[in-house]
């Protein structure tokens, strides 16, 4: 199955990636090549096969529900593009 320019616009919107009109042709071409490769596995009969979501079958480990991480907000926010008084700054979303 081939993607259309509309599909690429939709995917780019979902993925939050701006694609300039002049690059969309090349993006479409490369995506269609990849999908051509991927299509090989669609014809395989997988009736009754359990999906394998992980490499090793292990049960999720749990730890006691107790607070133990120290507060490292300042350290972690030191690498952020814009912070003020302990808050991450983003463009205004509510008028």
């Amino acid at each position: 199955m081939s993607l259309t320019p509309d599909d690429v616009r939709r995917l780019a919107r979902l993925a939050r990636i701006a694609i300039e009109p002049e690059e969309s042709g090349a993006v479409l071409d490369r995506l269609n090549r990849v999908l051509g490769l991927i299509d090989q596995m669609r014809a395989v009969d997988t009736t009754g096969i359990e999906p394998m979501s992980h490499a090793v079958e292990v049960v999720q480990r749990l730890r006691p529900d107790e607070a133990r991480e120290t507060n490292r907000r300042e350290l972690y926010q030191s690498v952020a593009p814009a912070v003020e008084e302990g808050l991450y700054l983003v463009p205004k979303v509510i008028e």
Binding site: L3, D7, V8, L11, A12, L14, A15, R16, I17, A18, I19, E20, V27, R30, L31, R33, V34, L35, G36, L37, I38, D39, Q40, M41, R42, V44, T46, I49, E50, P51, M52, S53, H54, A55, V56, V58, Q60, R61, R63, R72, L75, Y76, S78, V79, A80, P81, A82, Y88, V90, P91, K92, V93
Partner: protein
């Protein structure tokens, strides 16, 4: 000393023939001489290296030395380090310095290694040639016009050129083994869960594993002894008893059942690669190993399955790069969503964006069952092929890559050509199995060929033992590239 194995370096350090500071200086001199031409590193920190080396010498003087104390090392730039920035080869993280160290970094630091540099890599480990790096392509020391493989291409090139005696890499679809093969060094991808992923910037979480690159199989064992281990901060880290990855270094290969899959010796494999791998197979048979012909009928589908699952997981993992908490943020935007879109358009390169879009597609409404779920089912079929094979054999032998190193730029225009390079390496991570690559000769162009051994879960020590036995009788792993003479 430059071509010495870690064991030999450790012995020289212990005998006071050389100090850790002298060793670090030696590496820094070689990096000065060859590093820029190979573009193997994104960051080099001489003062950090010398400070850590002094610390290692002091530790030794106090009688507290371990096998790796004073050994210089370079980490792939996807492993978080406080000492140097962690860029993942991306503009997105060009100026990012992590507030914490990865578990692998902590473990190797605790073992006394001396961090010298961070290695160039394909952007976010997405690639097989190190050409998608924001910092430019790394180059193959055997021929600088060629790629070193990828995505851990900087690590492989650095070890091959003897700039550092060992490096770390990460392997999601072959990113340790394929560059090891194309650059003529050894590399091991451990069983999934053996090495903690804490602090390893996530690409495809169900596949990612860190592992060592070094000159010899015995070196891989020494590095694994430090890198492996349970870590509660990674929910998929396996809580297993500590093991010695060198315990089979004295085991011979007599009676070892070597599975030879017909799918790994068919068309598409270069004649020079086949010749070298078949010669290695004959060597094992000559030592009393038993050849077992096997089939892995679903393995040819591995690349297709991998390029659904890995982009799907990547599209989810890389959603964290939004210009809010860390990394690049676009200068100009109209609103919040526009800021996300422009930040990601500017911060990510072509290959990364393409994989995010593919991943978004295969997970999207109406396509999930046909692509993502189907890929997970075929993934199980691939894992089952191996389970059946390991009822009849102990290791699976074949080429690591169908070709030797290719020219920079040769495969960048068509992603499918690049992806098909991973045909023999994607199966092990899909199944979660350990696999290593060791040099087994050269093709007619004088380029190194890699031999891949894949084993059952937790059989790393056996793989290392078999490769070590081979390296006691061959010297492919000790050959030094002509472009970076000692």
């Amino acid at each position: 000393m430059l071509n010495a194995t870690l064991g030999e370096l450790g012995a020289a350090l212990a005998a006071k023939k050389i100090s850790a500071v002298e060793l670090a200086r030696g590496c820094l001199e070689r990096i000065e001489r060859y590093g820029a031409a190979l573009n193997a590193f994104i960051s080099v920190d001489a003062s950090h290296a010398l400070e850590r080396a002094k610390h290692a010498d002091a530790k030794r003087a106090r009688g507290e030395a371990q096998p790796l104390t004073g050994i210089p090392i370079a980490h792939k730039d996807i492993l978080c380090t406080r000492a140097m920035r962690t860029t993942c080869g991306s503009r997105m993280l060009e100026h990012y310095t992590s507030p914490y160290d990865a578990h692998v970094v902590e473990q190797l630091e605790r073992a006394g290694t001396v961090l010298v540099a961070k290695c160039n890599m394909d952007e976010f480990a997405m690639g097989s040639s190190t050409e998608s790096s924001h910092f430019g392509p790394a180059r193959n020391p055997w021929d600088k016009r060629l790629v070193p493989g990828g995505s851990s291409g900087g690590s492989a090139a650095a070890v091959a050129a003897r700039l550092v005696p060992a490096a770390t890499g990460t392997d999601t679809g072959g990113s340790i083994r394929q560059p090891a093969a194309l650059s003529g060094v050894c590399g091991l991808k451990p069983t999934y869960g053996v090495v903690s992923r804490y602090g390893l910037v996530a690409f495809a979480s169900s596949l990612d594993q860190a592992g060592p690159l070094a000159k010899s199989a015995a070196d891989l064992a020494l590095l694994m002894n430090a890198m492996a281990g349970f870590d509660e901060r990674d929910s998929t880290s396996l809580d297993r008893p500590k093991e010695d990855y060198g315990r089979h270094l004295g085991t011979d290969v007599k009676g070892l059942r070597i599975g030879v899959p017909k799918e790994y010796f068919g068309e598409g494999v270069e004649p020079g690669v086949l010749r070298a791998v078949e010669a290695a197979l004959r060597w094992f048979e000559g030592q009393g190993a038993k050849r077992v012909d096997i089939e892995l009928p679903n393995s040819p589908l591995g690349v297709a399955v991998y390029y659904v699952i890995a982009p799907a997981e990547a599209s989810s993992n890389l959603s964290r790069f939004d210009g809010v908490r860390y990394g690049h943020r676009a200068k100009a935007y109209s609103d919040l969503v526009d800021m996300y879109c422009r930040t990601r358009a500017e911060g990510f390169g072509t290959e990364v964006k393409q994989r995010i879009l593919v991943g978004t597609y295969v997970l999207s409404h109406g396509y999930y069952d046909a692509y993502y779920l189907q890929a997970q089912k075929v993934r199980r079929l691939i894992a089952r092929d191996f389970a059946q094979a390991f009822e009849r054999c102990d290791v699976v032998l074949g080429p690591t890559s169908p070709t030797t190193a290719f020219a920079i730029g040769a495969k960048t225009s068509d992603p499918v050509q690049m992806y098909l390079n991973d045909i023999f390496t994607v199966s092990a991570p899909l199944a979660g199995l350990p696999a290593l690559s060791v040099p087994c000769g050269f093709d007619q162009k004088g380029l190194p060929v890699g031999l891949q051994l894949t084993g059952n879960y937790f059989s790393e020590a056996r793989l290392i033992g078999a490769a070590h036995r081979y390296q006691q009788e061959t010297d492919w792993h000790l050959r030094v590239p002509q472009e970076t003479p000692l």
